[in-house]
């Protein structure tokens, strides 16, 4: 699946997007955050406060317990500040 990062999440991870293949045991957004956090210090820093991170699956906001099965694109970003 494709993963996208925005704003300070993107800056901390060090890339705007990538394709990942998490193991089948990673089933929810929350579990994906934990799995990503274990990849490197950069990811751990980006996701150090997982409750602050917002997520979207295929362009729609989701909660942290949402299932990631079948997702084409998952995005992680901080609370929005547009308008």
């Amino acid at each position: 699946m494709k993963v996208k990062y925005f704003a300070w999440v993107r800056e901390r991870v060090g890339k705007a997007e990538e394709t990942i293949e998490p193991p089948a045991t990673v089933r929810t957004v929350e579990e994906l955050i934990a799995w990503l956090s274990g990849r490197s210090e950069a990811y751990a820093y980006a996701f150090e406060k997982p409750k602050v991170i917002r997520a979207a699956i295929d362009h729609a906001h989701v909660k942290s317990d949402a299932a990631i099965a079948g997702a084409r694109e998952i995005a992680f970003f901080p609370p929005m500040t547009g308008g």
Partner: protein, 155 residues
């Protein structure tokens, strides 16, 4: 009632008068147009802002605004909606966002414009980065914006 919805995300500036003219062109059923413009402000809570950079999530930003525009159409008797959100780097005084709502009577237009702006601030994927004399940093979300959006879900 037809309610054309126009949503644009662009780097270029917008012309409010022109957008209103487009929204109301060859219509005689519109009695009220409300326009809200969001402008880059120099004075924030602490430091003087020198510039703002707006980042967005292409694709989702348009879809999220569309979902709320559709909800506005289902909640109020509207005759037209235009939402333009700019992205890029802005100096104080420059336009950032425009919301136009058209209706037969003013109440629906006022309420729908407020509804759309409240959701634009809290659920459309845009992020502001601020440059000031003290450095550069991402703008933090305000609880007051979440509270403003939450009032539309109360009965």
């Amino acid at each position: 009632m037809t309610c054309p919805v126009t949503i644009r995300i662009q780097e270029d500036d917008f012309d409010i008068a022109r957008e209103i003219a487009v929204l109301t062109r060859s219509r005689t059923d519109i009695g009220a147009v409300v326009s809200f413009s969001g402008i880059c402000r120099a004075d924030d809570d602490s430091a003087k802002v020198a510039a703002l950079t707006l980042e967005h999530y292409p694709g989702m930003a348009e879809e999220e605004i569309r979902r709320h525009a559709d909800e506005a159409v289902s909640r109020w008797p509207l005759n037209g909606i235009t939402v333009i959100h700019r992205v890029g780097r802005f100096m104080p005084g420059q336009n950032i966002v425009l919301v136009l709502t058209a209706s037969q009577h003013r109440q629906a237009a006022f309420q729908a414009a407020e509804f759309l702006m409240d959701y634009l601030k809290t659920s459309a994927p845009f992020w502001k980065k601020e440059e000031s004399a003290t450095g550069t940093g991402w703008v933090e979300a305000h609880a007051r914006d979440d509270e403003a959006a939450a009032r539309w879900t109360k009965s």
